[in-house]
């Protein structure tokens, strides 16, 4: 209290200093923003581990693009189509180039979230194989440029699994022999349901609620056998023998071929083929630069470097020819006609079906046990007893006071 006036001046000084700092930062920020337009930047949103980022001997694609064009690339990644969709719908950030998979491209087109491209400004796209043009998700070929593709296979640990890869089918993921050593797709209900539906021999694009319920029951049956629902830990866990089996996108095999115990099988029956395609968002501020980027990615030299790093299949014949024959001729990595003839592609589903699928998927993953209910009841009971005791104590005290 004695030093109050001193304190006052000190506080006033602090406030002033803080205010000055704040204004300074604000002004600096403004100036920075004004200077910004000289360098255009585009926001690229891609799958994790889906571009050559300079971590291997192959070139850093984004850095190379920046060097050649002077356009800055803000690169960020997502885990699955659905989180990409959530991010775009919440429109927290504007993205220029995004790389969703087939059914998500269709969904985004349907929701008017994509912009039509001018292919005359992207001459390199002419190198894309014909079979990838006018796909079912973009029938007019206006919104998307294929980036990579692949199929879903079963990754397994060679020393833990006795079946040969030729005889493997989806039901091995339900085999009680491997209890506690099976892993499943985590985040995208589409992928998880797809496997259950393929196992049941149903269409992966079914909109029949009964089919979905059957698939959910199948996954509930599988749940006790499962070690965990994971996304990116598949190879690490299988490679060291923590887990024996997991479904995953086959292309990732190259990235992880370091582990000799890791095997890859394409299921005997139906499997899922996917295409990841580059698109431009409808609200993009720099569509021209985005097209420049897509054109750059389709450049044969760049695409070869990129594919060598990411390991996914390329939709460009010229790139495939430049790959190591050991990879481009490997049947599991570059599925042949026979495998492709029995693989299906996801299609965009109506909103109701997606909602039902999400509900069922969440329910599958939620533990419904009664022990927690009992536990809470006991605690509440104890609390009530405590309340009663302390109340009676107080009443006693009061009585004591009155007498």
């Amino acid at each position: 209290m004695v030093n109050f006036s001193k304190n006052k001046t000190f506080l006033a000084f602090c406030t002033l200093a803080f205010g000055l700092l704040f204004t300074f930062l604000l002004i600096k920020w403004q100036i920075d923003n004004k200077n910004e337009p000289k360098q255009v930047s585009i926001n690229v949103y891609n799958w994790g581990n889906h571009i050559s980022d300079g971590s291997s001997e192959h070139i850093n694609v984004n850095a190379e693009f920046e060097r050649r064009t002077g356009i800055k690339v803000n690169y960020s990644t997502y885990q699955d189509n659905e989180s990409l969709y959530a991010k775009i719908m919440s429109s927290a950030t504007k993205y220029d180039v995004i790389i969703p998979s087939d059914y998500m491209v269709a969904k985004l087109i349907e929701k008017n979230m994509l912009r039509k491209m001018d292919f005359s400004k992207m001459p390199n796209t002419s190198t894309i194989d014909k079979e990838f043009l006018n796909p079912s998700y973009d029938p007019q070929n206006e919104y998307s440029v294929p980036y990579t593709w692949g199929v879903v296979g079963i990754f397994y640990n060679k020393s833990l699994v006795s079946e040969s890869p030729e005889e493997m089918d989806w039901d091995i993921l339900w085999n009680p022999k491997y209890k506690g050593r099976i892993m499943m797709f985590e985040n995208s209900p589409r992928d998880a349901f797809g496997i259950a539906l393929m196992k049941l021999g149903l269409s992966i694009n079914t909109i029949d609620p009964q089919d979905l319920k059957k698939a959910a029951a199948e996954m509930a049956r599988q749940k006790p056998l499962i070690k965990g629902y994971v996304t990116d830990q598949v190879f690490e866990k299988i490679g060291i023998g923590e887990a024996a089996l997991a479904p995953y996108y086959t292309d990732a095999y190259i990235v992880t071929s370091g582990s000799k115990d890791l095997g890859l099988a394409i299921p005997k029956g139906i499997t899922n083929k996917f295409v990841n395609a580059m698109c431009i968002c409808a609200n993009s501020d720099h569509p021209d630069e985005a097209q420049q980027y897509i054109n750059f990615i389709c450049d044969i030299e760049i695409a070869t470097e990129n594919i060598k790093h990411v390991g996914y299949c390329t939709p460009q014949q010229a790139v495939r020819e430049r790959l190591d024959p050991e990879i481009s001729q490997n049947k599991s990595l570059y599925p042949d006609k026979e495998i492709l003839s029995r693989s299906h592609t996801y299609e965009n589903l109506p909103d109701e079906t997606n909602a039902l699928m999400n509900d069922l998927w969440l329910k599958t993953r939620i533990e419904n046990n009664n022990s927690s209910k009992k536990f809470i009841c006991i605690l509440l009971g104890l609390f009530l007893v405590y309340l009663g005791l302390s109340a009676s104590k107080i009443i006693k005290k009061r009585k004591g006071n009155y007498t």
């Binding site: 506080l11 959530a86 995208s188 070690k227 419904n368 809470i376 405590y386 302390s390």
Partner: protein
């Protein structure tokens, strides 16, 4: 007036980053996809009542475990000499310097079926334990990550306890047990309460632990909210409704916890 000016940075901060988001949650919770007023989200929340219960019970278990481990630790630290105290508190606070995710990743490798613990048991000729991907592992993760928040408040209350009261009790012939249960423990209750709330609140709303240590097979309520916003379902309306109910639930739990503060409880009961 001066006080208000000094307070203004925080007021601005809290308006932008606390009041506005919470009001948004409130608005979203009562809307449907088309933006009309609707109670369907709140109704749908009850679909997840099982998840609420299991999250609650897991976090209560974690809080109790923290209390049982944390209180004696804080008590023993407060009894050592000041120099040792500083060192010990620094050691307790040290894990907080590391990133939460990093620590949890480390625990994943330690607790795995072929992890360090199980390998050790194997070499000793003992049976391997199933630790990871159980609810126990999730509770363990909560305890490990949040125990600091239990120890520090209890410790700071304990060192402030007036030594003269204890000396007076000793003079009057009270033994160690009696001093602890009649003086130290009751006086440290405010510390316990803030510790309990600081452990309970983050553990009830945690959302990554169950996926990392629980293998994603038993989602907690935090995961369900996360999925509504960023995961496979884009349903921020339902997510907001769940968050709202969770907030109410936490308020309720805090009220219950506060009842254990004798002085406050007496007032409240007397008010009836």
């Amino acid at each position: 007036m001066k006080k208000r000016i000094v307070l203004s940075p925080y007021l601005v901060w809290s308006t932008i980053f606390i009041i506005a988001p919470v009001s948004l949650i409130f608005i979203f919770a009562f809307r449907d996809i088309d933006g009309n007023f609707s109670l369907s989200n709140l109704k749908n929340v009850f679909m997840y009542s099982d998840v609420f219960l299991s999250s609650l019970s897991l976090s209560i278990m974690a809080t109790l475990a923290c209390l049982i481990i944390g209180y004696p630790t804080a008590y023993l630290i407060s009894r050592t000499n000041p120099k040792t105290q500083k060192l010990l508190i620094a050691l307790i606070a040290m894990p907080m310097w590391l990133n939460f995710l990093l620590k949890t990743y480390a625990w994943m490798t330690i607790l795995e079926d072929n992890g360090i613990i199980n390998n050790l048991l194997f070499y000793l000729g003992l049976q391997k334990l199933k630790i990871i991907n159980t609810q126990g592992a999730v509770v363990f993760g909560m305890v490990y990550n949040f125990i600091t928040y239990m120890i520090l408040p209890i410790y700071s209350v304990l060192i402030k306890t007036d030594k003269h009261i204890i000396e007076a009790a000793q003079d009057l012939g009270a033994n160690q047990n009696k001093i602890f249960f009649k003086i130290t423990l009751p006086l440290s209750i405010p510390g316990i309460i803030s510790g309990v709330s600081m452990v309970f609140v983050p553990s009830v709303s945690t959302f990554i632990l169950s996926r990392m240590l629980g293998g994603g097979t038993s989602l907690l309520i935090g995961d369900v909210i996360d999925i509504q916003f960023l995961g496979s379902v884009y349903n921020p309306w339902l997510g907001s409704a769940i968050s709202l109910i969770l907030m109410l639930l936490i308020f309720l739990c805090m009220a219950i916890i506060n009842f254990f503060d004798n002085s406050k409880a007496e007032k409240e009961i007397a008010a009836f």
